[in-house]
C-alpha cells in the first residue's frame, strides 16, 4: 500500500528549510526520521501536499558538549544518543530513556527533535529531559528562541511551536553533582510498546540520607509529559523513608490527569503511577538500579 502522494523538498541548510515550510502552497509537514509521520500518512490521519525533509541539513545531527551542558542536534537519532560517549559519561538517565524507545530499528531512524515536536504524552525521552530542565531551541521565520521544556508541551500532541518553526536542538544541563537517576517504563502489552506510564527521576541525597534535590517527571500520566511537582515537594528536604516514598507516589497519582486509551484506563494508569513512582524512589535510595 502506497502513501498518499506528496512532493518532497530536501533543503541543505536551515534557512532553506525555513523558507520551504513557510511557502504557502498547500499543507507542508516537516519530516525527520519519519517514524511518527509516515504511519500517520499511511493511516490517512494527515494528507500533506509537501514534506520538507531535514535529513540534509548537516548541523542538525550533531551531539556535542557545550560547556557543562549537552547539546543534542534535533536530528540526532535515539541510536546516536545511545552510542554517544558524552551521553554515556555524563547523562546516564537520558541514555537509559532513549534505549527504551520502541525497537532498535525505530531508534535508528527516530530523532530527538521529532520525538519532542510530536509532543506525545507517552514519550520515553521527554520525562528524562524534564528532570534535566532541558531547553528546546527553535528556529523560525523571525529568528530563534529557546523554550524551557516545562513549557514546550502545550497540550495533547501539541508542542509550543508556531507555524513555520523548526526544533533545531535540545540543550541538556548536567545532573546535580552526586545525583542518582533512573527511568522506569511500564508497558501493559509488550516490552517494546509505548509506556502506559513512564517515570524518570533524579535524586540527590546528603550523607545522612536527606533529600537535597529531587526531580520527578512522568510520561503517560496526563495529556502531555509532566513534572510531578507535588511529589517532589513531598520528598525535598526529607529523609527518603518508605513512608515518604509512599506519600510522594500518592501525590504524583493525585496530581496526574491520565487519559484512557487502548493500553489502559485512566484509573489503571493512576494506580500504576502510584506503584512505579514509589518503586523507582526506593530503588534509587537503595542503589538497586
Amino acid at each position: 500500500m502506497r502513501l498518499h502522494p506528496f512532493g518532497l523538498v530536501e533543503p541543505e541548510s536551515l534557512s532553506e528549510a525555513l523558507d520551504a515550510v513557510t511557502r504557502l502552497d498547500g499543507e507542508a509537514r516537516l519530516v525527520a526520521g519519519g517514524t511518527a509521520l509516515v504511519p500517520m500518512i499511511r493511516l490517512g490521519l494527515v494528507k500533506p501536499d509537501r514534506l520538507v525533509s531535514l535529513q540534509r541539513v548537516p548541523v542538525l545531527a550533531e551531539i556535542r558538549k557545550d560547556g557543562p551542558a549537552l547539546e543534542l542536534g534535533a536530528m540526532a537519532t535515539h541510536a546516536d544518543i545511545e552510542r554517544s560517549r558524552a551521553v554515556r559519561d555524563g547523562w546516564p538517565l537520558l541514555r537509559e530513556a532513549v534505549r527504551r524507545v520502541a525497537t532498535p530499528a525505530i531508534r535508528t531512524s527516530g530523532t530527538i527533535g521529532g520525538n519532542l515536536a510530536y509532543a506525545e504524552a507517552a514519550s520515553d525521552p521527554a520525562p528524562a529531559l524534564m528532570c534535566h530542565d532541558a531547553e528546546v531551541r527553535v528556529a523560525g521565520p523571525h529568528g530563534g528562541r529557546t523554550v524551557p521544556i516545562s513549557r514546550f508541551f502545550r497540550g495533547f500532541y501539541e508542542a509550543a511551536l508556531e507555524p513555520g518553526e523548526i526544533v533545531t536542538a535540545v540543550r541538556v544541563p548536567p545532573p546535580p553533582v552526586g545525583a542518582r537517576g533512573g527511568y522506569i517504563k511500564f508497558t501493559s502489552r509488550s516490552a517494546e510498546d509505548k509506556p502506559l506510564v513512564g517515570v524518570a527521576a533524579l535524586i540527590t541525597l546528603d550523607s545522612s540520607g536527606r533529600c537535597t534535590d529531587i526531580r520527578i517527571a512522568l510520561g503517560g500520566a496526563a495529556p502531555t509529559p509532566i513534572r510531578a511537582a507535588a511529589a517532589e515537594r513531598t520528598v525535598r528536604g526529607e529523609a527518603l523513608t518508605d513512608a515518604v516514598a509512599r506519600a510522594a507516589a500518592e501525590a504524583a497519582a493525585r496530581d496526574a490527569e491520565p487519559l484512557s486509551d487502548l493500553m489502559g484506563s485512566a484509573e489503571y494508569r493512576r494506580e500504576m503511577i502510584r506503584v512505579w513512582v514509589r518503586r523507582l524512589l526506593t530503588a534509587l535510595r537503595d542503589g538497586t538500579r
Binding site: 500500500m1 502522494p5 518532497l8 509516515v38 504511519p39 520502541a102 525497537t103 532498535p104 525505530i106 531512524s109
Partner: protein
C-alpha cells in the same frame, strides 16, 4: 527524484517518486521481493533491512533518506554463493515456519552481530524485540542467532 546508494554491495542509481518508501523502492522499483510488507506502520518488523549496518524499517523510511547509504536486504546476506552463518543456522535449526518474518529477523540479527559478535541470550531477545513471529515462539530463532554469533561459534 534521482537516487544513488549502495545495494547489497553494489552501486545502485535509480529513480523513484517522491512519496515512495524504501520498501516501495525495493519491491516495486527494484523487484527485490525478499523484504516483506507486513503492517506498514513499523510495528511488525518484517520489512527490516540494514542501512549503514543498522536496522531500519523499510516501510517507514522515505526512499530519499537512504541516498548515499549502504543498504543490505536478505538477498545480500549471502556472498560468493555462500550462505551467511545466520542463514545456515536458521536452516539447520528449523528456525522458520511460514517464513514471512524471517527476512526481517535475519537482518535485525545481522545488525546485532555486526555491533556485538558475542551477544547474550537477553541481548538477542532485545535486538529482536521489534520483529514479530506468529508461528514459532522464538526459541529456535534465538538459538539460531546465538549459534551464528562469530564470537561464540
Amino acid at each position: 527524484m534521482n537516487l544513488a546508494f549502495t545495494l547489497n554491495g553494489r552501486p545502485c542509481a535509480t529513480q523513484a517518486p517522491d512519496h515512495w518508501t524504501v520498501l516501495d523502492l525495493l519491491r516495486d522499483g527494484l523487484s527485490l521481493m525478499g523484504t516483506k510488507y507486513g503492517c506498514g506502520e513499523g510495528v511488525c518488523g518484517t520489512c527490516t533491512v540494514l542501512a549503514d549496518g543498522r536496522p531500519i524499517r523499510a516501510c517507514l523510511v522515505l526512499a530519499a533518506h537512504v541516498r548515499g547509504r549502504a543498504l543490505v536486504t536478505v538477498e545480500g546476506l549471502e556472498s560468493d554463493e555462500r550462505l551467511d552463518p545466520l542463514q545456515t543456522a536458521f536452516a539447520e535449526r528449523g528456525a522458520a515456519q511460514c517464513g514471512f518474518c524471517t527476512p526481517g529477523i535475519m537482518l535485525a540479527a545481522k545488525a546485532l552481530l555486526l555491533e556485538n559478535p558475542a551477544p547474550t541470550e537477553h541481548e538477542v531477545r532485545e535486538a529482536l524485540s521489534g520483529n514479530l513471529c506468529r508461528c514459532t515462539g522464538y526459541t529456535k530463532i534465538v538459538e539460531a542467532v546465538l549459534a551464528a554469533a562469530p564470537g561464540t561459534r
